[in-house]
Symmetry: C2
Subunit: 351 residues, 2 copies
C-alpha cells in the first residue's frame, strides 16, 4: 500500500474509501510503530521502514554462508486472542515459532517480515499485533525488516485477522544440522515447553469452548489460571540457551516439537535407519494437557500426535555430553532433562 | 504441520480430524507438488521439500551481498478468482508482484516462500494455487524454497483462502538503487502493465460486481473479454527486460506502480527535492480502466491514485539513454515509451 491521501467524494462517484479501504489508518498505525521497529535494527540493516523491500547485508565473517528460511502462521491460536481481546502476544508467538524452526538447522535469525490481513483497519489492534512481532524480534536479536498489512474487506469477520511471518537466518555451510551427525546411542535431551505453543489449537478450542462450554475468562480445569492465560501462554524461543551449545559443536540434531508432536517431528531430523526411545516417566505433562485430555476424552496416542505434551524442543547429543548439556540448559533458565535415546530402527517408541 | 497419521476414533473421544483439520489431504497435496517445486531448484538450493527450513547458499561472486526482502499478499483479487473458480493464476500474480518490488532496489530474486491459509483442505485448489506460485518462481529463476499451508477452520468462508508470499533477492551493495542517482532532467520511461495487476480490486469489484451487477462470465464493458479474463489478467514481471539495463548501469531508479498509482509510488524512489512531470498524452490507459471509470463514475484523480492506469513500472534514466532504453525494452517484448521527466520540486505533476 502506498501513501496516497483519500478524500471524500461528492455524489455517486465511488472511491477506495467508500469501498472499505482506509489507507490513512494504515499510515497512522505504521507511524506509531516506527520507533518500535527501529529498535530491532542492527548494524547490517540498511533500509528504513517504508521502502519497497528491506535491505540486509549478509553478515561478514562466514566463508560459505547458508541462508535458512521459513514461513509460518499463528494458526487458530488467533481465535483465543480474539475471544480474550488480547493482541499483544501472538506476534511474539509467531517470531519464536519461526526462530525455533530455523534453529533446528543450526541457524541464528537475521531478519523477519510479517503479514497481517484483516477485514477493516483497526489501528489499535494492528499496533498491538505488530508490537508483539517487534518485541519478539528484539528478544531474538533479529531485525523486523518489513511486512505487509493488508486490508481485505469481506475476507475476515469483524475483529478477526490472520497473521503470518517469514524468517531468514544464517549458518556456516559446514555447521548446518542435517541429521548426519546423529548416531545410535545418542542421548535425547528434552527442553520444556511453556504450554501448547502454537499447535493443536483447533482441537483445544473445540474441547475448551465447545465441549466444556468455557469462556476466555473462566478458570481452566485443574490449573487455577484463566482459559485465556493458559491458552495464550507464549511460544518459547530456544535460541539463547541453545546458541552456546551449537557454537561448542555439542548438538548432533535439534527437533522443534510442533504439530505432530514428538512422533511427527523427532524422526524428521534423524537418519533413515534411526529411531528414538522416549521415556514417558522422565517428565510429567503439564496440567494444561491433562485438562485437555480429560475434557475431550482424547486418547493418549492422539494427544501425543497433536500436542507437544510439555516438550518444546529435543536436542540429540553424544551420550558423554548429555549431563553437561542438561546442566548448561538449566543454568540458562530452562527446564531440561534426559528424555531418551537414539536406537536403530525408525519412528518413536514410548517406554 | 507434521506427518502424523489420523485415525477414526470411537465413541465420544475427540480427535484433530473431528475438529476439522485433515492432515492427510495436506500431505497428499504436498506430494503432488513435489516435482513442480523441484523444478524451481537451482545450484544454490541445498534443502529438500519438507525440511523444517529451506536452505539456500548465498550466491558466490559478490563482494558485499545485500539481501532484499519483501512480503506481500494477493489482496482482494482473490475474490475474483473465487468467483471465477480459477486458482492457477493468483500464485504467479503474487510472485511477479514480489519480484518487481525488490527489482526496484536493483535486486534479482533468489528464493520465495508462500503462505496459503484456508478453512478446509481442498487438495485440488491448493495444488492449483501452489502450481501457480511454482510456475511464477520458475519463470523468474527463483527457487520456491518453502512455505506453509494452514488449515484454519472457521477463519475463511467455504471455498475461500488467503495467499501471501515472501521473497528474498540479492544485489551488490554498491549497485543498490536508492534514489541517489536521480537528477533533475532525467527521463521517465513507462513500461506497460497488463491490466490491474494486483491493486485496486476492492474498488474494482465494487464497481463491477455490486454497481454494475456483472458476473465473472459476463462481458467486461468495452473490452469484449469476460470479467474474469479481464480482472484475472496476470501481474507482469519486469525482471527479464530490466536485468540487462541494470547490469549496464543504465537505470537511476525504478518505481513499481502498485496501490497508490504513479503519484503514490514514483515519489518514493526520488530524492527529497525532486518531483516528476508525467505527460498524460504519452499513452492511453487500457480499456479496462476506462470501463471502471465510467462504470463507477470514479473521478480521474481517484483513478490515478488507486490503479496503475496502464503503467506497470517506471524507469528513471539519463536523458541521453532514454531512446536506447526504450528500444531495449521494446526489443525484449515490452511496450515502453517516454512518459515524462524529473524536475525540481516534489510529487507528481500531470500535464
Amino acid at each position: 500500500m502506498g501513501s496516497q491521501i483519500e478524500k471524500e467524494k461528492p455524489g455517486a462517484a465511488l472511491s477506495y474509501r467508500d469501498a472499505g479501504v482506509d489507507l490513512d489508518a494504515a499510515e497512522r498505525a505504521k507511524a506509531r510503530l516506527k520507533s518500535l521497529v527501529a529498535s530491532t535494527r542492527d548494524e547490517n540493516t540498511l533500509s528504513e521502514l517504508g521502502s519497497f523491500g528491506g535491505l540486509y547485508l549478509v553478515p561478514p565473517g562466514f566463508s560459505a554462508p547458508v541462508l535458512v528460511a521459513s514461513a509460518d502462521g499463528v494458526g487458530t491460536k488467533l481465535k483465543v486472542a480474539f475471544a480474550a481481546n488480547r493482541h499483544t502476544t501472538v506476534g511474539r508467538d509467531l517470531v519464536n515459532h519461526c526462530v525455533n524452526d530455523i534453529l533446528v538447522q543450526g541457524a541464528r535469525p537475521i531478519f523477519f517480515l510479517d503479514y497481517v490481513a484483516l477485514g477493516a483497519m483497526d489501528e489499535a489492534v494492528v499496533t498491538d499485533i505488530v508490537s508483539g512481532v517487534a518485541n519478539g524480534c528484539r528478544d531474538n536479536g533479529c531485525a523486523l525488516l518489513g511486512g505487509e498489512t493488508a486490508q481485505m474487506p469481506n475476507f475476515y469477520a469483524q475483529g478477526e485477522y490472520d497473521l503470518a511471518g517469514f524468517i531468514v537466518g544464517v549458518v556456516e555451510r559446514d555447521r548446518v544440522l542435517d541429521g548426519s551427525r546423529v548416531r545410535s546411542g545418542d542421548a535425547l535431551v528434552g527442553i520444556a515447553s511453556t504450554g501448547l505453543h502454537t499447535n493443536g489449537y483447533t482441537l483445544a478450542r473445540k474441547i475448551v469452548f465447545d465441549h466444556l462450554g468455557l469462556g476466555a475468562g473462566d478458570p481452566f480445569p485443574g490449573t487455577g489460571r484463566s482459559v485465556a492465560d493458559e491458552l495464550l501462554e507464549a511460544h518459547r524461543s530456544y535460541l539463547r540457551p541453545m546458541l552456546p551449545l551449537l557454537d561448542a559443536g555439542k548438538v548432533h540434531a535439534l527437533a522443534h516439537i510442533t504439530g505432530g508432536g514428538i512422533p511427527g517431528n523427532l524422526p524428521r531430523v534423524l537418519g533413515p535407519s534411526l529411531g528414538a526411545v522416549v521415556h514417558r516417566k522422565s517428565w510429567q505433562a503439564p496440567a494444561v494437557f491433562e485438562g485437555l485430555r480429560h475434557g475431550g476424552s482424547v486418547e493418549l496416542e492422539e494427544m501425543d500426535r497433536v500436542f507437544n505434551m510439555g516438550v518444546g524442543m529435543i536436542a540429540v547429543v553424544a551420550p558423554a555430553d548429555a549431563d553437561s548439556v542438561v546442566a548448561s540448559l538449566r543454568a540458562s533458565g530452562e527446564n531440561a532433562w534426559l528424555l531418551g535415546e537414539i536406537e536403530p530402527g525408525q519412528g518413536v517408541r514410548y517406554v
